[in-house]
Subunit: 222 residues, 2 copies
Amino acid sequence: MGRMKIQNSPTIRRMPSYLHKLFNMRLEGKTHVSTTELAKYMNIELIVVRKDIALTGIAGLRRVGYNINDLIDYIKSYLGWTKTFSACLIGAGALGTAILGYEDFVNYGLNIGSVFDCSDKKIGTSIHGREVYDIETIGQRFKHYHPDMAIICVSNTAAQAVTDKIIQLGIHYIWNFANVCLQVPPKVIVQREVLAGGLATLTVKMKHMDEHVEDKPIETKK
Amino acid sequence: MGRMKIQNSPTIRRMPSYLHKLFNMRLEGKTHVSTTELAKYMNIELIVVRKDIALTGIAGLRRVGYNINDLIDYIKSYLGWTKTFSACLIGAGALGTAILGYEDFVNYGLNIGSVFDCSDKKIGTSIHGREVYDIETIGQRFKHYHPDMAIICVSNTAAQAVTDKIIQLGIHYIWNFANVCLQVPPKVIVQREVLAGGLATLTVKMKHMDEHVEDKPIETKK
DNA sequence: TAGATTGTTAATCGATTAACAATC
DNA sequence: TAGATTGTTAATCGATTAACAATC
Protein backbone atom coordinates (compact mmCIF):
# COMPACT_ATOMS: atom_id res chain seq x y z
CA MET A 1 0.00 0.00 0.00
CA GLY A 2 1.12 3.59 -0.44
CA ARG A 3 3.17 4.54 2.57
CA MET A 4 2.49 8.12 3.43
CA LYS A 5 4.54 8.99 6.42
CA ILE A 6 7.84 10.88 5.76
CA GLN A 7 6.93 13.04 8.72
CA ASN A 8 9.67 15.45 9.45
CA SER A 9 12.74 13.49 8.51
CA PRO A 10 15.86 15.31 9.70
CA THR A 11 17.72 13.81 6.75
CA ILE A 12 15.42 15.51 4.28
CA ARG A 13 15.73 18.80 6.11
CA ARG A 14 19.53 18.63 5.94
CA MET A 15 19.67 17.97 2.21
CA PRO A 16 19.15 21.57 1.07
CA SER A 17 22.09 22.67 3.22
CA TYR A 18 24.37 20.17 1.54
CA LEU A 19 23.08 21.41 -1.77
CA HIS A 20 23.76 25.00 -0.85
CA LYS A 21 27.37 24.17 0.03
CA LEU A 22 27.82 22.11 -3.13
CA PHE A 23 26.64 24.97 -5.32
CA ASN A 24 29.17 27.25 -3.69
CA MET A 25 31.96 24.72 -4.10
CA ARG A 26 31.10 24.29 -7.76
CA LEU A 27 31.28 28.03 -8.21
CA GLU A 28 34.75 27.90 -6.66
CA GLY A 29 35.74 25.48 -9.38
CA LYS A 30 35.91 22.38 -7.21
CA THR A 31 34.94 19.06 -8.72
CA HIS A 32 34.90 16.73 -5.71
CA VAL A 33 33.81 16.85 -2.10
CA SER A 34 34.32 14.57 0.86
CA THR A 35 31.84 13.97 3.65
CA THR A 36 34.54 15.28 5.98
CA GLU A 37 34.28 18.69 4.33
CA LEU A 38 30.49 18.72 4.45
CA ALA A 39 30.42 17.68 8.10
CA LYS A 40 32.88 20.40 9.00
CA TYR A 41 30.82 23.01 7.21
CA MET A 42 27.56 21.86 8.79
CA ASN A 43 29.04 21.39 12.26
CA ILE A 44 27.58 17.93 12.52
CA GLU A 45 29.04 14.47 12.96
CA LEU A 46 30.77 12.92 9.99
CA ILE A 47 28.74 9.75 10.19
CA VAL A 48 25.49 11.70 9.89
CA VAL A 49 26.60 13.17 6.59
CA ARG A 50 27.81 9.76 5.40
CA LYS A 51 24.45 8.19 6.12
CA ASP A 52 22.58 11.05 4.47
CA ILE A 53 24.68 10.88 1.32
CA ALA A 54 24.41 7.11 1.20
CA LEU A 55 20.62 7.42 1.21
CA THR A 56 20.72 9.25 -2.10
CA GLY A 57 22.26 6.14 -3.67
CA ILE A 58 25.34 7.83 -5.10
CA ALA A 59 28.64 5.97 -5.38
CA GLY A 60 31.78 7.77 -4.28
CA LEU A 61 35.47 7.31 -4.86
CA ARG A 62 37.42 6.12 -1.89
CA ARG A 63 40.09 8.53 -0.80
CA VAL A 64 38.64 11.18 -3.10
CA GLY A 65 35.01 11.76 -2.22
CA TYR A 66 32.05 12.41 -4.46
CA ASN A 67 31.79 14.19 -7.75
CA ILE A 68 30.05 17.46 -6.97
CA ASN A 69 27.87 17.56 -10.05
CA ASP A 70 26.78 13.98 -9.51
CA LEU A 71 26.06 14.56 -5.85
CA ILE A 72 23.96 17.62 -6.67
CA ASP A 73 21.95 15.51 -9.10
CA TYR A 74 21.49 12.66 -6.63
CA ILE A 75 20.34 14.97 -3.85
CA LYS A 76 18.00 16.81 -6.18
CA SER A 77 16.58 13.51 -7.33
CA TYR A 78 16.15 12.37 -3.73
CA LEU A 79 14.17 15.53 -2.95
CA GLY A 80 12.15 15.42 -6.14
CA TRP A 81 13.86 18.57 -7.32
CA THR A 82 14.49 17.29 -10.84
CA LYS A 83 11.65 19.30 -12.28
CA THR A 84 10.69 22.86 -11.38
CA PHE A 85 7.81 23.75 -9.09
CA SER A 86 5.58 26.70 -9.68
CA ALA A 87 4.16 28.54 -6.70
CA CYS A 88 1.98 31.49 -5.95
CA LEU A 89 2.70 33.59 -2.91
CA ILE A 90 -0.24 34.95 -0.99
CA GLY A 91 0.41 37.88 1.32
CA ALA A 92 3.00 40.45 0.28
CA GLY A 93 3.92 41.68 3.76
CA ALA A 94 7.35 41.59 5.33
CA LEU A 95 7.50 37.80 5.43
CA GLY A 96 6.26 37.40 1.87
CA THR A 97 8.81 39.94 0.74
CA ALA A 98 11.57 38.05 2.54
CA ILE A 99 10.58 34.82 0.82
CA LEU A 100 10.50 36.49 -2.57
CA GLY A 101 14.03 37.64 -1.91
CA TYR A 102 15.34 34.21 -0.96
CA GLU A 103 17.96 33.60 -3.62
CA ASP A 104 18.42 29.87 -3.35
CA PHE A 105 14.91 29.00 -4.49
CA VAL A 106 15.97 29.44 -8.11
CA ASN A 107 18.62 26.77 -7.65
CA TYR A 108 16.07 24.52 -6.02
CA GLY A 109 13.67 24.80 -8.93
CA LEU A 110 11.03 26.77 -7.06
CA ASN A 111 9.52 29.42 -9.27
CA ILE A 112 7.23 31.87 -7.53
CA GLY A 113 5.23 33.01 -10.53
CA SER A 114 2.56 35.16 -8.96
CA VAL A 115 2.02 37.26 -5.85
CA PHE A 116 -1.31 38.20 -4.32
CA ASP A 117 -2.38 40.60 -1.61
CA CYS A 118 -5.60 42.22 -0.47
CA SER A 119 -4.22 45.65 0.41
CA ASP A 120 -4.64 48.54 -2.00
CA LYS A 121 -1.24 49.77 -0.92
CA LYS A 122 0.39 46.62 -2.24
CA ILE A 123 -1.67 45.76 -5.30
CA GLY A 124 -0.01 46.93 -8.48
CA THR A 125 3.37 47.49 -6.85
CA SER A 126 6.37 45.36 -7.68
CA ILE A 127 8.36 43.27 -5.21
CA HIS A 128 11.65 41.74 -6.28
CA GLY A 129 10.53 42.15 -9.86
CA ARG A 130 7.11 40.59 -9.43
CA GLU A 131 3.85 42.47 -9.68
CA VAL A 132 1.42 42.09 -6.79
CA TYR A 133 -2.08 41.12 -7.91
CA ASP A 134 -5.41 41.65 -6.20
CA ILE A 135 -6.33 38.49 -4.31
CA GLU A 136 -9.84 38.92 -5.67
CA THR A 137 -8.53 38.14 -9.14
CA ILE A 138 -6.88 34.87 -8.12
CA GLY A 139 -9.60 32.71 -9.65
CA GLN A 140 -9.25 34.42 -13.01
CA ARG A 141 -5.46 34.25 -13.00
CA PHE A 142 -5.36 30.59 -12.06
CA LYS A 143 -7.20 29.82 -15.29
CA HIS A 144 -4.10 30.88 -17.22
CA TYR A 145 -1.48 29.91 -14.72
CA HIS A 146 -2.17 27.21 -12.18
CA PRO A 147 0.70 26.80 -9.72
CA ASP A 148 1.76 23.51 -8.13
CA MET A 149 1.65 24.99 -4.66
CA ALA A 150 0.66 28.05 -2.66
CA ILE A 151 2.85 29.80 -0.13
CA ILE A 152 0.74 31.41 2.55
CA CYS A 153 2.15 34.51 4.21
CA VAL A 154 -1.04 36.29 5.23
CA SER A 155 -2.06 37.17 8.77
CA ASN A 156 -3.18 34.42 11.13
CA THR A 157 -6.75 35.65 10.96
CA ALA A 158 -6.88 35.59 7.15
CA ALA A 159 -5.06 32.30 6.64
CA GLN A 160 -7.95 29.83 6.88
CA ALA A 161 -10.21 31.81 4.52
CA VAL A 162 -7.45 32.13 1.94
CA THR A 163 -6.75 28.42 2.28
CA ASP A 164 -10.37 27.46 1.69
CA LYS A 165 -10.38 29.65 -1.38
CA ILE A 166 -7.27 28.24 -3.03
CA ILE A 167 -8.24 24.64 -2.28
CA GLN A 168 -11.48 25.36 -4.09
CA LEU A 169 -9.35 26.53 -7.00
CA GLY A 170 -7.51 23.22 -7.07
CA ILE A 171 -4.38 23.76 -4.98
CA HIS A 172 -3.17 20.54 -3.34
CA TYR A 173 0.07 21.62 -1.71
CA ILE A 174 0.40 24.44 0.77
CA TRP A 175 3.45 25.90 2.45
CA ASN A 176 2.02 27.69 5.44
CA PHE A 177 3.89 30.44 7.29
CA ALA A 178 0.87 31.76 9.17
CA ASN A 179 0.83 30.80 12.82
CA VAL A 180 -2.29 28.64 12.67
CA CYS A 181 -3.02 24.99 11.99
CA LEU A 182 -4.95 25.04 8.75
CA GLN A 183 -7.91 22.71 8.52
CA VAL A 184 -7.89 21.07 5.11
CA PRO A 185 -9.44 18.06 3.38
CA PRO A 186 -7.40 14.83 3.44
CA LYS A 187 -6.11 15.20 -0.12
CA VAL A 188 -4.42 18.50 0.62
CA ILE A 189 -0.93 18.47 2.08
CA VAL A 190 0.20 21.31 4.30
CA GLN A 191 3.77 22.02 5.30
CA ARG A 192 3.64 24.33 8.26
CA GLU A 193 6.58 26.43 9.38
CA VAL A 194 6.51 27.20 13.07
CA LEU A 195 8.89 30.01 13.86
CA ALA A 196 8.58 29.49 17.58
CA GLY A 197 9.70 25.88 17.21
CA GLY A 198 13.24 27.07 16.66
CA LEU A 199 13.00 29.39 19.62
CA ALA A 200 11.83 26.51 21.79
CA THR A 201 14.77 24.37 20.69
CA LEU A 202 17.15 27.18 21.55
CA THR A 203 15.67 28.00 24.94
CA VAL A 204 15.64 24.35 25.99
CA LYS A 205 19.36 24.28 25.28
CA MET A 206 19.79 27.47 27.33
CA LYS A 207 17.89 25.88 30.18
CA HIS A 208 20.09 22.78 30.12
CA MET A 209 23.22 24.91 30.04
CA ASP A 210 22.02 26.80 33.11
CA GLU A 211 21.25 23.59 34.94
CA HIS A 212 24.60 22.01 34.21
CA VAL A 213 26.69 25.05 34.86
CA GLU A 214 28.52 23.27 37.65
CA ASP A 215 29.27 20.24 35.48
CA LYS A 216 32.14 19.92 33.06
CA PRO A 217 32.17 22.56 30.33
CA ILE A 218 30.07 21.21 27.50
CA GLU A 219 30.03 17.92 25.71
CA THR A 220 31.22 18.82 22.25
CA LYS A 221 32.24 16.48 19.51
CA LYS A 222 35.43 14.58 19.89
CA MET B 1 27.95 14.19 33.17
CA GLY B 2 25.98 16.99 31.53
CA ARG B 3 24.10 15.54 28.62
CA MET B 4 24.04 18.02 25.83
CA LYS B 5 22.11 16.49 23.02
CA ILE B 6 18.45 17.61 22.67
CA GLN B 7 19.07 17.80 18.97
CA ASN B 8 15.92 18.73 17.21
CA SER B 9 13.30 17.04 19.30
CA PRO B 10 9.97 17.11 17.48
CA THR B 11 8.28 17.21 20.86
CA ILE B 12 9.95 20.49 21.73
CA ARG B 13 9.05 21.95 18.37
CA ARG B 14 5.38 21.08 18.86
CA MET B 15 5.12 22.68 22.29
CA PRO B 16 4.75 26.30 21.10
CA SER B 17 1.81 25.26 18.93
CA TYR B 18 0.02 23.76 21.89
CA LEU B 19 0.77 26.92 23.79
CA HIS B 20 -0.64 29.09 21.02
CA LYS B 21 -3.88 27.12 21.04
CA LEU B 22 -4.09 27.22 24.83
CA PHE B 23 -3.73 31.00 24.88
CA ASN B 24 -6.58 31.29 22.41
CA MET B 25 -8.77 28.92 24.40
CA ARG B 26 -8.10 30.88 27.56
CA LEU B 27 -9.14 34.06 25.78
CA GLU B 28 -12.36 32.29 24.83
CA GLY B 29 -13.00 31.74 28.53
CA LYS B 30 -12.32 27.99 28.56
CA THR B 31 -10.76 26.48 31.65
CA HIS B 32 -10.00 22.92 30.54
CA VAL B 33 -8.70 21.18 27.45
CA SER B 34 -8.48 17.54 26.40
CA THR B 35 -5.73 16.02 24.30
CA THR B 36 -8.48 15.12 21.83
CA GLU B 37 -9.09 18.80 21.19
CA LEU B 38 -5.41 19.59 20.82
CA ALA B 39 -4.85 16.69 18.44
CA LYS B 40 -7.78 17.75 16.30
CA TYR B 41 -6.48 21.30 16.12
CA MET B 42 -2.96 20.20 15.27
CA ASN B 43 -4.03 17.51 12.81
CA ILE B 44 -1.82 14.95 14.48
CA GLU B 45 -2.44 11.64 16.23
CA LEU B 46 -4.01 11.75 19.66
CA ILE B 47 -1.31 9.61 21.18
CA VAL B 48 1.40 12.03 20.06
CA VAL B 49 -0.24 14.84 21.99
CA ARG B 50 -0.76 12.58 25.01
CA LYS B 51 2.93 11.67 25.09
CA ASP B 52 3.98 15.29 24.66
CA ILE B 53 1.75 16.51 27.47
CA ALA B 54 2.84 13.66 29.72
CA LEU B 55 6.46 14.75 29.26
CA THR B 56 5.71 18.07 30.92
CA GLY B 57 4.78 16.18 34.09
CA ILE B 58 1.32 17.67 34.49
CA ALA B 59 -1.49 15.63 36.04
CA GLY B 60 -4.87 15.71 34.32
CA LEU B 61 -8.39 14.89 35.31
CA ARG B 62 -9.80 11.78 33.72
CA ARG B 63 -12.84 12.46 31.63
CA VAL B 64 -12.19 16.21 31.89
CA GLY B 65 -8.72 16.93 30.59
CA TYR B 66 -6.16 19.41 31.80
CA ASN B 67 -6.56 22.79 33.45
CA ILE B 68 -5.53 25.28 30.80
CA ASN B 69 -3.65 27.63 33.11
CA ASP B 70 -1.77 24.74 34.65
CA LEU B 71 -0.92 23.24 31.28
CA ILE B 72 0.39 26.57 30.03
CA ASP B 73 2.64 26.76 33.08
CA TYR B 74 3.89 23.21 32.68
CA ILE B 75 4.70 23.67 29.01
CA LYS B 76 6.41 26.99 29.69
CA SER B 77 8.42 25.37 32.41
CA TYR B 78 9.35 22.48 30.11
CA LEU B 79 10.64 24.94 27.52
CA GLY B 80 12.40 27.14 30.02
CA TRP B 81 9.95 29.95 29.31
CA THR B 82 9.37 30.82 32.94
CA LYS B 83 11.60 33.87 32.74
CA THR B 84 11.82 36.35 29.89
CA PHE B 85 14.60 36.37 27.32
CA SER B 86 16.07 39.52 25.91
CA ALA B 87 17.28 39.56 22.34
CA CYS B 88 18.80 41.92 19.87
CA LEU B 89 17.86 41.66 16.24
CA ILE B 90 20.55 42.26 13.68
CA GLY B 91 19.45 43.07 10.16
CA ALA B 92 16.30 45.13 9.69
CA GLY B 93 15.38 43.89 6.24
CA ALA B 94 12.17 42.15 5.25
CA LEU B 95 12.86 39.08 7.36
CA GLY B 96 13.89 41.10 10.40
CA THR B 97 10.76 43.19 10.04
CA ALA B 98 8.64 40.05 9.86
CA ILE B 99 10.19 38.72 13.04
CA LEU B 100 9.67 42.03 14.84
CA GLY B 101 6.00 41.78 13.89
CA TYR B 102 5.55 38.23 15.20
CA GLU B 103 2.95 38.71 17.89
CA ASP B 104 3.35 35.51 19.86
CA PHE B 105 6.87 36.28 21.04
CA VAL B 106 5.48 38.48 23.80
CA ASN B 107 3.51 35.53 25.16
CA TYR B 108 6.62 33.38 24.94
CA GLY B 109 8.66 35.81 26.99
CA LEU B 110 10.95 36.85 24.14
CA ASN B 111 11.67 40.55 24.30
CA ILE B 112 13.49 41.99 21.30
CA GLY B 113 14.96 45.05 22.93
CA SER B 114 17.22 46.43 20.23
CA VAL B 115 17.51 46.39 16.45
CA PHE B 116 20.66 46.96 14.44
CA ASP B 117 21.36 47.53 10.77
CA CYS B 118 24.21 48.85 8.67
CA SER B 119 22.18 50.72 6.08
CA ASP B 120 21.78 54.50 6.32
CA LYS B 121 18.27 54.08 4.97
CA LYS B 122 17.30 52.00 8.00
CA ILE B 123 19.28 53.55 10.83
CA GLY B 124 17.18 55.95 12.85
CA THR B 125 13.88 54.70 11.44
CA SER B 126 11.38 52.86 13.58
CA ILE B 127 10.08 49.34 12.91
CA HIS B 128 7.14 48.04 14.89
CA GLY B 129 7.87 50.68 17.49
CA ARG B 130 11.57 49.97 17.81
CA GLU B 131 14.31 52.30 16.67
CA VAL B 132 16.97 50.86 14.37
CA TYR B 133 20.51 51.52 15.61
CA ASP B 134 23.73 51.67 13.68
CA ILE B 135 25.46 48.29 13.90
CA GLU B 136 28.70 50.19 14.51
CA THR B 137 27.33 51.29 17.89
CA ILE B 138 26.52 47.77 19.06
CA GLY B 139 29.52 47.56 21.36
CA GLN B 140 28.56 50.76 23.12
CA ARG B 141 24.93 49.81 23.50
CA PHE B 142 25.70 46.34 24.85
CA LYS B 143 27.42 48.02 27.78
CA HIS B 144 24.05 49.30 28.95
CA TYR B 145 21.88 46.51 27.67
CA HIS B 146 23.34 43.09 27.12
CA PRO B 147 20.80 40.70 25.56
CA ASP B 148 20.60 36.96 26.24
CA MET B 149 20.63 36.15 22.56
CA ALA B 150 21.06 37.61 19.09
CA ILE B 151 18.73 37.04 16.17
CA ILE B 152 20.64 37.22 12.92
CA CYS B 153 18.69 38.38 9.88
CA VAL B 154 21.47 39.88 7.80
CA SER B 155 22.52 38.75 4.34
CA ASN B 156 24.38 35.47 3.92
CA THR B 157 27.57 37.32 3.10
CA ALA B 158 27.45 39.51 6.23
CA ALA B 159 26.38 36.81 8.68
CA GLN B 160 29.75 35.37 9.70
CA ALA B 161 31.34 38.78 10.31
CA VAL B 162 28.39 39.91 12.41
CA THR B 163 28.55 36.65 14.34
CA ASP B 164 32.24 37.02 15.11
CA LYS B 165 31.56 40.54 16.35
CA ILE B 166 28.73 39.70 18.73
CA ILE B 167 30.50 36.65 20.11
CA GLN B 168 33.36 38.96 20.93
CA LEU B 169 30.83 41.11 22.77
CA GLY B 170 29.79 38.15 24.89
CA ILE B 171 26.75 36.69 23.11
CA HIS B 172 26.40 32.93 23.71
CA TYR B 173 23.12 32.13 22.00
CA ILE B 174 22.36 32.85 18.37
CA TRP B 175 19.19 32.34 16.39
CA ASN B 176 20.41 32.34 12.80
CA PHE B 177 18.11 33.02 9.86
CA ALA B 178 20.88 33.64 7.35
CA ASN B 179 21.40 30.78 4.95
CA VAL B 180 24.89 29.86 6.09
CA CYS B 181 26.34 27.54 8.71
CA LEU B 182 27.99 29.86 11.16
CA GLN B 183 31.38 28.79 12.48
CA VAL B 184 31.47 29.49 16.21
CA PRO B 185 33.52 28.46 19.25
CA PRO B 186 32.23 25.43 21.21
CA LYS B 187 30.66 27.49 23.98
CA VAL B 188 28.34 29.31 21.59
CA ILE B 189 25.05 27.68 20.66
CA VAL B 190 23.49 28.38 17.30
CA GLN B 191 19.93 27.56 16.34
CA ARG B 192 19.75 27.70 12.58
CA GLU B 193 16.52 28.06 10.67
CA VAL B 194 16.67 26.55 7.23
CA LEU B 195 13.80 27.79 5.13
CA ALA B 196 14.48 25.30 2.37
CA GLY B 197 14.15 22.43 4.84
CA GLY B 198 10.41 22.90 4.86
CA LEU B 199 10.34 23.07 1.09
CA ALA B 200 12.26 19.80 0.90
CA THR B 201 9.80 18.11 3.24
CA LEU B 202 6.92 19.30 1.09
CA THR B 203 8.42 18.31 -2.24
CA VAL B 204 9.34 14.86 -1.00
CA LYS B 205 5.69 14.39 -0.10
CA MET B 206 4.71 15.60 -3.56
CA LYS B 207 7.11 13.12 -5.12
CA HIS B 208 5.65 10.26 -3.12
CA MET B 209 2.13 11.28 -4.06
CA ASP B 210 3.08 11.25 -7.73
CA GLU B 211 4.67 7.84 -7.44
CA HIS B 212 1.72 6.28 -5.67
CA VAL B 213 -0.97 7.82 -7.81
CA GLU B 214 -2.13 4.40 -8.93
CA ASP B 215 -2.39 3.12 -5.36
CA LYS B 216 -5.28 3.65 -3.04
CA PRO B 217 -6.07 7.33 -2.37
CA ILE B 218 -3.93 8.38 0.56
CA GLU B 219 -3.33 6.85 3.91
CA THR B 220 -4.89 9.33 6.26
CA LYS B 221 -5.54 8.85 9.91
CA LYS B 222 -8.16 6.42 11.01
C1' DT C 1 53.22 2.17 2.42
C1' DA C 2 50.12 4.78 5.27
C1' DG C 3 46.23 7.38 5.53
C1' DA C 4 42.08 9.31 4.05
C1' DT C 5 38.03 8.11 2.52
C1' DT C 6 33.91 5.32 1.17
C1' DG C 7 31.10 1.13 2.16
C1' DT C 8 28.70 -1.99 5.27
C1' DT C 9 26.90 -4.04 9.26
C1' DA C 10 25.44 -3.89 13.93
C1' DA C 11 24.19 -1.48 18.32
C1' DT C 12 21.95 2.10 20.56
C1' DC C 13 18.72 5.46 21.40
C1' DG C 14 14.60 8.00 21.23
C1' DA C 15 10.18 8.95 19.01
C1' DT C 16 6.05 6.96 17.49
C1' DT C 17 2.52 3.76 17.78
C1' DA C 18 -0.34 0.26 19.97
C1' DA C 19 -2.83 -1.79 23.62
C1' DC C 20 -5.12 -1.71 27.63
C1' DA C 21 -5.98 -0.36 32.52
C1' DA C 22 -8.00 3.14 35.56
C1' DT C 23 -11.58 6.35 36.68
C1' DC C 24 -14.75 10.16 36.96
C1' DT D 1 -24.02 2.59 33.43
C1' DA D 2 -21.37 3.77 29.38
C1' DG D 3 -18.15 6.57 27.46
C1' DA D 4 -14.61 9.86 27.32
C1' DT D 5 -10.53 10.67 29.02
C1' DT D 6 -6.02 10.18 31.44
C1' DG D 7 -2.29 6.94 32.85
C1' DT D 8 0.96 3.21 31.92
C1' DT D 9 3.45 -0.31 29.74
C1' DA D 10 5.18 -2.57 25.74
C1' DA D 11 6.16 -2.93 20.71
C1' DT D 12 7.72 -0.91 16.66
C1' DC D 13 10.20 1.96 13.82
C1' DG D 14 13.64 4.97 12.20
C1' DA D 15 17.57 7.96 13.15
C1' DT D 16 21.91 8.18 15.26
C1' DT D 17 26.06 6.27 16.61
C1' DA D 18 29.79 2.89 16.62
C1' DA D 19 32.93 -0.29 14.64
C1' DC D 20 35.42 -2.03 11.17
C1' DA D 21 36.29 -3.62 6.36
C1' DA D 22 37.65 -2.18 1.70
C1' DT D 23 40.51 0.50 -1.34
C1' DC D 24 42.71 4.04 -4.01
